[in-house]
Structure formats: structure tokens, C-alpha cells
């Protein structure tokens, strides 16, 4: 029993970070119907950003995250303005964005490999290898901090969407883009901000990744496959679905990893996606974009 609870704890810790990674992705889809295949590549970019910041100034990756947030926000907003207005209104917009961001993912991966090389890296703050005891359970400190940071960011995101004026605009756009435009929401501005937020979340997730896992540029495919499975599973555009799906599946995959073998643990995410498609094609929390 103790062992089971221990696995649940470890799974939940990881699930929180997955939820943060998936949140940016699902917001982008919810607001703009953009499926951002390059999201994980930008997470890796965030990890490199934090890594080099840590290496050159010794700045703790958790503080590095606070630097990454605004930098990646601006980067995202600029990227959006540069690429997406051109394809907006094209038929099959979502499919188009999949291919477009697919190309972006390749470019980002290639450039990162070219400039930073393909070797494994990891920031090494003191808490990376520490752990503390909680009752009779053991909790790795780094994963605990990462979970805390994820929860703080997700709560901030939720509060922003629920209580700010811009947040209303974002939610209105998620519900019905056309109607939002009619009642006076500046959809272009909302989209730019949302893309910035999505990218900032990727940057922040990258900062956490930098000390949680060894990373290298080509790693992003594995993650994007997991994240995409998560957001389809939760229902595209549903923040709630993404968070619940992330934590639930992370726990299940922790069990698979513990009792069947670590090679099979990613299978949980893809397998769950296929099962959901068979049972409930619109995902756990419906087709309607909800917050």
C-alpha cells in the first residue's frame, strides 16, 4: 500500500508539470484553433534559455523561469504577428496551422542542434538531487518545486481568464470568435496576447524541464506526442480537461513504469487517446471550448 501511494505521489508531481506544458497548447487551440506542433520545441528552447542563464550567471532555474516568462511572451506575440495573419481565413485553418507549426518545429530543432549541439544537458541547482520525507513517503524536492511552480502559474492563468477584462475577451473568443468580434472584442489583439501567453507557458515549462530531465533538441517530438494526446483526450481547448487528463495519465503511466517497465509508460498516453477516440471522440470534456 505504501508503495502504491508512493507511485501516486510521484505520478502527481510529474502530472502537474505535464498540465503546465499542455495548458499553453490547449489555450492556443481554444482561442485561435491553432494546433501548435512546435510547442514542445519551444519548451526545449525555454530549457536552453534557462540553462544558459544558469550557466553564465548562476541564476537559479526557478528564478530563470521568471525571466523566461516575459521574454517568451514577446517572442510569441511577434511570431504570431509574423506568421498567422497570412493564413487566417484560409479553408481548413486548423490543419494549415498544424503543418505550419510542424515546419516551425523542424526549424527550431535544427537551429537548436546547430547552435547548441545535440548533447544532453541539465541545470544542476542544489535541490535537483535532494528529497524530503513526508510521513513515510519520499518526495523529490526538485519535482515538488516544479509542481508548486506549475500550480502557481496555472492559478495565475485561471485568475487572469476569470477576473481580468482581457481574460473575458479571451474566453469570449474561445466560445465564439465571430460573436466576440461583433460585441467589440479586438480579436486580433486577444489572439496576439493568447499566443504570447501560450509561448510564455512553454518558456516557463522549459525552465522546469531544465532541472527535471536531461534535455536535447530532438527530445521535443516525444513530448509533443504526449502533450497532443493529452489535449485531444481532455477535449481540444478545454483547460480543465488538459489538467485532469495530465495528472490522471501521469499517475497511470507512473504505475506502468513501476510495474510493467519504463519503456511502456509513454504508451499510456497514446493508448488512452485511442481508447477515448473509440468511446468518446470529442474528448473527455466535450467539443465546446470551456475554461
Amino acid at each position: 500500500m505504501t508503495q502504491v501511494i508512493q507511485v501516486v505521489i510521484l505520478g502527481t508531481l510529474l502530472g502537474g508539470v505535464y498540465a503546465l506544458m499542455a495548458s499553453g497548447l490547449t489555450i492556443l487551440f481554444g482561442v485561435m484553433r491553432v494546433v501548435n506542433i512546435s510547442h514542445a520545441a519551444f519548451i526545449i528552447l525555454g530549457a536552453f534559455f534557462t540553462f544558459f542563464l544558469w550557466e553564465s550567471t548562476g541564476l537559479d532555474p526557478l528564478l530563470g523561469m521568471l525571466v523566461a516568462l516575459p521574454v517568451f511572451f514577446v517572442f510569441g506575440a511577434v511570431l504570431y504577428r509574423a506568421l498567422f495573419p497570412r493564413v487566417e481565413g484560409s479553408p481548413r485553418f486548423s490543419e494549415m496551422t498544424v503543418l505550419l507549426t510542424f515546419g516551425l518545429a523542424f526549424m527550431t530543432e535544427g537551429l537548436m542542434t546547430y547552435f547548441f549541439t545535440g548533447i544532453f544537458r541539465q541545470t544542476a541547482p542544489s535541490y535537483r538531487v535532494e528529497a524530503f520525507e513526508f510521513g513515510s513517503f519520499y518526495v523529490p524536492t526538485a519535482q515538488f518545486y516544479a509542481l508548486l511552480a506549475s500550480v502557481v502559474l496555472l492559478v495565475c492563468l485561471w485568475a487572469f481568464l476569470t477576473y481580468t477584462h482581457t481574460g473575458y475577451g479571451v474566453r469570449a473568443t474561445m466560445q465564439n470568435r465571430m460573436a466576440a468580434q461583433i460585441v467589440g472584442v479586438d480579436v486580433r489583439r486577444v489572439s496576439t496576447i493568447s499566443f504570447g501567453i501560450g509561448m510564455a507557458l512553454a518558456g516557463a515549462a522549459g525552465a522546469l524541464v531544465s532541472f527535471l530531465f536531461p534535455f536535447f533538441p530532438a527530445r521535443h517530438w516525444q513530448w509533443i506526442a504526449i502533450l497532443l494526446s493529452l489535449i485531444v483526450l481532455g477535449g481540444l481547448g478545454s483547460l480543465k480537461g488538459a489538467v485532469i487528463g495530465a495528472i490522471g495519465l501521469a499517475v497511470i503511466s507512473a504505475f506502468v513504469s513501476r510495474y510493467i517497465g519504463p519503456v511502456w509508460s509513454p504508451m499510456v498516453f497514446y493508448g488512452a487517446l485511442f481508447i477515448i477516440l473509440l468511446v468518446r471522440p470529442q474528448g473527455l470534456f466535450g467539443h465546446q471550448a470551456r475554461v
Binding site: V35, R86, M267
Partner: protein, 348 residues
């Protein structure tokens, strides 16, 4: 479902998309040019292996094998992605499964992959049918994502499965040809596969089946209302587009004499089929052929001059972005829109 209403409605649905040239005399002349050019190219390509004094003989033949393989793969992808607009990013699953089926048959039963290639294709087709039944429960971006998930399921599975040698893969017995002529059988086998794929694409383009697929691509709801069983047609298209990749995988595996998950089940492999078809022109017969030829030659050139594979990735990605932003119809499509498509590229 009778034949007549399908025709009438889908023709209407396509009317806006493709204004059809009417002058029969012009049409006849274009057709003659097209057939002549195609035959000349085909004869030249078929005679190439007889030109033994060619410098770097085996290298040139190997590039030929590559080009034919990718023509076959891109043309097959086009049946689903080009006509219905459903983008599969995991199509290399069928390519890889075909390779493994033939490799296992060769290792355990000694059957030559040249013979078992058709069987590999059928296994890929059956798998495509199954995958289609599940993935087509969704549409749009969810469909694309489910094809990516399919690819990763197969990757994780083959990485761990002892029958397929796990991530180390399997080594195949060497082909029993003299070293001097080693590439020649593969050259012709792959040429045959490419021709079959192009022919299949052409048949689909000119069949009621293809018309239904294009109707689905133009407007799925209208197609459904017109009485097309869209789900059935999409699943059939998926299965059909899986067949030749299986065959190509079988031949290709034999030509490199080993199989490993990272050769076949990388997302970049599936992405290439998409890129080639989009650059050449989706939903056209000539598009994938031109796209595949261009990309392989470009790839060889960039390998020779830059060497670094990461720059290849950047070029691949940048090309995809540029084509999507500026020429979403691809080479053939863009030329046709401007009325400048030369007769020898107009295979539709």
C-alpha cells in the same frame, strides 16, 4: 447508393474549384506532348543502369532508388491527404510495418522480399483499414494528432518487442547478387513501385471513388448529404494509401539489409511525404512526383555541400513554412492557377 446522383453533386461541388479547359483540340495536343515526354523520361530512366561507364555508378543508382521510393510514398500519401485533405503525419507506420513483415519472412522462412513485398503491402493495407476505423472517428486537427499517436504507439511497441529485435532492429541476409550489379534489381523494383503508385493515383483521380474523395475534401457535409458514405470512403482511402508504402518498405529494407525502428518510425520520415506532396501540389498526379524528385536531389546536394544534418532539418522546415505561406497549392497547383502549367506536367 446509385452512381448518378454522386456524379452530379460532386461535379457541382468541384465546379468552383477547377474550371475545366474546353477546347478539345488544345486538350488533344497537350495530351500528346504529355505522353511523349513521359515516355521519353521513362525510357531514359529505364535504360540508365545499362550505362555502366557512368561515374559513381552505384551512387547514382542509389539516388534513383531513393527518388522512386519517395515518389511512391508521396503519391500514396496524396491519395488520402491530397484528395480528402485529411493529413496523416504517421503514414510511415505502413512503410515501416511493410519493411518488418518482409524482413521477418526473409529471416525466418527465407522468402525473398521481392516476392513478399506484395504481402507486406497487404499487411500494411489491413493495418491502414484498422487505423482508419479508429482515427476517422474524429476529424480536423484531432485526426492529425491521432495519426501522430498511432506512429508513437508503433515506435514504442517496436522499440520494445523482442520479435523485431527491439531498438537494435534486425539484420537481413545479404541479397544474392554480385556486388557490381547490386543496385540494379532494387532500381527496377523501386521504379516499378513508383510507376504503380503514380498509376494508382491517376486511376483514383479519374474514378468515381476519387471524385467522392475530392468531394469530401471540398465539403464533407455536402458530400454526406449527397449520399456519399464519407466515413467508408475515408477509411478505404486510408487503407489504399497504406498499401504501396508497405511494398516500398519491404524493398527498401532489403536494399539496406537491416531494419531498425529509427529508420522507419521517426516523425521526420512521415513529414517528408507530406512536405514532398505539398511542395509538388496536393491533389494532383504530377505533384508528388515533382516534390519527391526535388526534395531528394536537394537533400543530396545539401548533404554534399553542408554535410550537417541539422541544416537539412532547418531547410525542410523553412521550405514547408514558405510553401504554406506563399504557395499553398504547391508547384503544380500554383502554375495551374496562373494558367502556366506546361503540358508535360499536366497529368490529371
Amino acid at each position: 447508393m446509385t452512381d448518378k446522383p454522386l456524379d452530379a453533386v460532386t461535379e457541382t461541388a468541384l465546379m468552383s474549384a477547377e474550371p475545366i479547359v474546353v477546347d478539345p483540340e488544345v486538350e488533344r495536343r497537350r495530351r500528346r506532348v504529355r505522353i511523349t515526354v513521359a515516355l521519353v523520361i521513362l525510357v531514359l530512366v529505364a535504360l540508365l543502369p545499362f550505362y555502366r561507364s557512368l561515374g559513381a555508378y552505384n551512387y547514382v543508382l542509389q539516388i534513383g532508388v531513393s527518388i522512386f521510393a519517395w515518389i511512391a510514398l508521396a503519391s500514396s500519401w496524396n491519395i488520402l491527404g491530397g484528395y480528402t485533405g485529411y493529413i496523416s503525419l504517421g503514414h510511415n507506420v505502413f512503410y515501416g510495418v511493410g519493411a518488418y513483415v518482409s524482413a521477418l519472412l526473409l529471416i525466418h522462412l527465407g522468402i525473398s522480399p521481392f516476392l513478399s513485398a506484395a504481402l507486406a503491402g497487404l499487411v500494411a493495407l489491413a493495418l491502414g483499414l484498422l487505423a482508419g476505423l479508429v482515427t476517422f472517428r474524429t476529424q480536423g486537427p484531432s485526426f492529425i494528432i491521432s495519426t501522430i499517436a498511432l506512429l508513437f504507439i508503433v515506435l514504442v511497441w517496436f522499440d520494445a518487442w523482442s520479435l523485431t529485435g527491439g531498438s537494435n532492429g534486425l539484420s537481413l541476409p545479404l541479397p544474392p547478387f554480385s556486388r557490381e550489379w547490386l543496385r540494379v534489381p532494387f532500381y527496377y523494383a523501386m521504379l516499378l513501385a513508383a510507376l504503380a503508385a503514380v498509376f494508382l493515383g491517376h486511376r483514383v483521380q479519374h474514378s468515381k471513388f476519387g471524385l467522392a474523395l475530392r468531394a469530401i475534401g471540398a465539403d464533407q457535409v455536402k458530400a454526406e448529404v449527397a449520399g456519399i458514405n464519407t466515413r467508408l470512403f475515408k477509411v478505404l482511402a486510408f487503407a489504399l494509401s497504406a498499401f504501396i508504402p508497405g511494398v516500398v518498405g519491404a524493398i527498401f529494407a532489403y536494399s539496406i539489409s537491416y531494419v531498425r525502428p529509427t529508420i522507419f518510425f521517426l516523425i521526420a520520415v512521415g513529414a517528408r511525404m507530406v512536405l514532398m506532396t505539398i511542395i509538388g501540389g496536393r491533389g494532383t498526379v504530377a505533384g508528388p512526383v515533382i516534390g519527391a524528385t526535388l526534395i531528394i536531389l536537394l537533400n543530396e546536394a545539401s548533404l554534399t555541400y553542408f554535410g550537417a544534418t541539422e541544416l537539412n532539418l532547418v531547410i525542410t522546415g523553412a521550405l514547408l513554412v514558405i510553401v504554406l505561406l506563399f504557395f499553398p497549392a504547391g508547384i503544380v497547383g500554383s502554375l495551374r492557377e496562373r494558367g502556366k502549367l506546361p503540358a508535360f506536367l499536366d497529368w490529371d
